[in-house]
């Protein structure tokens, strides 16, 4: 429970209130829709690849603070990076969210480590991961993805009667 407090830190609340790179890119080379049917969170990620480099990226959608802040900070941190570097961040972010990443060890997450608290809130892990999952789908030209999709490494039968 102590980590819950840590989760709603100023930086997350700030990105929720004033999301960076919010909107859609008109001439996107890659895009995907992400959906969490458990809570209705829905967002789109559009991006432009200049060769292997992410030239521009934006997100848009309705989501909880954790999801929105995660999307905002994700766009800020992958912009200008190569696709391979972004994929590394996606993997590290997922691992951190489920408690598989040693934050004291070598990683590239930087400020994204503020989301580490979700590992103690299993029902909120999907909120934090949805933007990253959607970015991964966009890279791989998967038009839409869901936190409940079979290809989702986080797929788990959390009750949704």
């Amino acid at each position: 429970m102590a980590d819950t407090k840590a989760l709603y830190q100023e930086v997350i609340l700030d990105h929720n209130k004033k999301p960076r790179n919010y909107g859609t890119l008109g001439n996107a080379s890659h895009k995907a829709e992400g959906h969490n049917p458990l809570c209705g969170d829905h967002l789109s990620v559009t991006l432009n690849l200049d060769g292997e480099r992410i030239d521009g990226i934006a997100f848009q959608g309705e989501a909880c603070a954790i999801c929105k802040a995660s999307a905002s900070m994700m766009t800020a941190s992958v912009k200008g990076k190569t696709r391979a570097d972004a994929e590394t961040l996606i993997q590290e972010f997922r691992d951190m969210s489920i408690g598989k990443l040693d934050l004291n060890g070598h990683h590239h997450l930087g400020r994204l480590a503020v989301f580490a608290g979700v590992r103690d809130l299993p029902t909120r892990v999907k909120c934090a991961i949805l933007p990253w999952h959607t970015l991964h789908a966009a890279f791989n030209s998967i038009a839409s993805t869901s936190t409940e999709a079979e290809d989702d490494p986080m797929h788990a039968p959390i009750g949704n009667a």
Partner: protein
């Protein structure tokens, strides 16, 4: 078949002592993250009092064997306790006969039983089934499956902005093809108490049977199936201080007898050859296989417990909690109550401006307050109010006014974090 009186006489509302009642619930002493647990997710599942826990322990330690089979002592004891529990449930809902009470795994199982046992036999192509916008998915999906299989059609009763069924519209939906009505007694998402007695009488005047989903009503008010004159009434044990994995379907004996079995297996037969099987009489026809015996006996203990307090006293205390909570929330700027029916059970669905329900739920949990956030398995209701989800506080008779205050303080904390 005779009615069994509850073990203790119901008490008067004026003697309602919430602190004494709370002492019966071991889990209410729990601390969550160092704060006292404030459990306001009773519409999802209620907590279990010591007498029910003790009953389960006594059954497992001194009475357990399989039922309806062997002639040895334990089997006879377990069978008689199981059937005694059925009579307690009969008394609890005032059914005229104990064989009208079928043990199921819960409300969902009970509705599926009616869909398979009644629907698949008596509803055909072009027939119409009336449901309401308020229904829980468990009273929508089985009927959609039936409609798809048979080529039948679902008609839906709309609601107004308060979350009340439009009864004029309900009445207009009837025609010569109407074959079945399914409606919830109390809305799990909004708390609306539906005028089911009137709806049943209207349907019966047109020869249409009615199933009532009583999952949210049976724990909170006196239910009298003979007075309602419903054809089917379903509810779950775990929302009524009983164990999970048990619930009941009440059905009128004449209807149950005409229905086909839902599940095949042991106990539901009189004789079996590879050429022909003769089904058992009701209720056994619908209880194939070994049932959750301990859970059924625990449910009997739970209705004894509730009856001793008195369903009227329970309803009165919960109405006090709802009125107090509603008054407090209405005074808070930036908080909107969703579901403002004139007749409501103690369910308070709300939205906080600018804060997603999942963030509300996580932050309230940090304060020790347990509420449900999400679509409450009632997505058509969410669509009607144009929200993806709500936060829902749902009260039980063991909740106190101080716990309402904790909820209000928690909402203020959420607003402060997001200010």
């Amino acid at each position: 078949m005779k009615l069994v009186e509850p073990a203790l006489k119901p008490q008067l509302a004026s003697t309602f002592n919430v602190e004494r009642i709370r002492a019966d619930f071991p889990i209410l002493k729990l601390k969550v993250g160092g704060k006292p647990l404030v459990y306001l997710d009773n519409a999802a599942s209620s907590q279990m009092p010591r007498p029910v826990i003790d009953r389960l322990v006594r059954y497992q330690t001194t009475q357990h064997a399989n039922i309806n089979r062997a002639v040895h002592y334990l089997s006879e004891t377990a069978t008689s306790e199981y059937e005694e529990s059925r009579r307690k449930l009969q008394c609890f809902i005032n059914a005229s006969e104990d064989r009208e009470v079928i043990f199921t795994s819960g409300t969902t199982d009970a509705i599926n039983l009616v869909m398979h046992g009644y629907g698949r036999k008596f509803i055909g192509a072009g027939d119409e089934i009336i449901l309401t916008t308020l229904e829980h998915h468990s009273n929508i999906v089985p009927w959609q499956m039936l409609a798809e299989e048979k080529g039948a059609k679902i008609r839906v009763v709309p609601i107004n902005d308060a979350g009340e069924l439009l009864i004029d519209e309900y009445e207009k939906l009837f025609n010569e093809r109407t074959k079945f009505v399914g409606v919830m007694h109390v809305s799990n998402a909004l708390g609306t108490i539906n005028p089911v007695k009137h709806m049943i009488a209207f349907a019966h005047a047109r020869g249409v049977p009615v199933l009532i989903d009583g999952a949210q009503a049976a724990p909170h008010m006196k239910v009298d199936v003979q007075d309602l004159d419903c054809d089917f009434y379903a509810f779950s044990g775990h929302k009524l201080c009983g164990p999970t994995g048990i619930g009941i379907l009440y059905g009128k004996a004449a209807l149950l007898e005409r229905m086909q079995p839902f599940k095949g297996g042991g106990d539901m037969i009189l004789s079996v050859t590879f050429e022909k099987t003769t089904y058992n009489t009701i209720p056994h026809k619908f209880e194939a296989g070994t049932p959750p015996i301990a859970a059924a006996i625990g449910l009997g203990a739970a209705v004894d417990y509730l009856s001793a307090i008195g369903m009227d006293a329970i309803a009165a205390h919960e109405l006090d909690l709802l009125n107090y909570a509603t008054e407090q929330v209405n005074r808070m700027p930036g908080v909107r109550i969703i579901g403002t029916a004139s007749m409501k059970a103690a369910v308070l669905s709300f939205a906080i401006d600018g804060v997603h329900p999942h963030d509300v739920g996580t932050l309230l949990s940090q304060e020790g307050v347990a509420v449900r956030t999400g679509h409450h398995c009632a997505q058509p209701v969410m669509q009607r109010f144009k929200v993806p989800a709500t936060s829902r506080a749902s009260f039980a008779f063991y909740n106190s006014m101080a716990e309402v205050d904790a909820l209000i303080a928690g909402i203020r904390t959420v607003q402060k974090v997001f200010s």
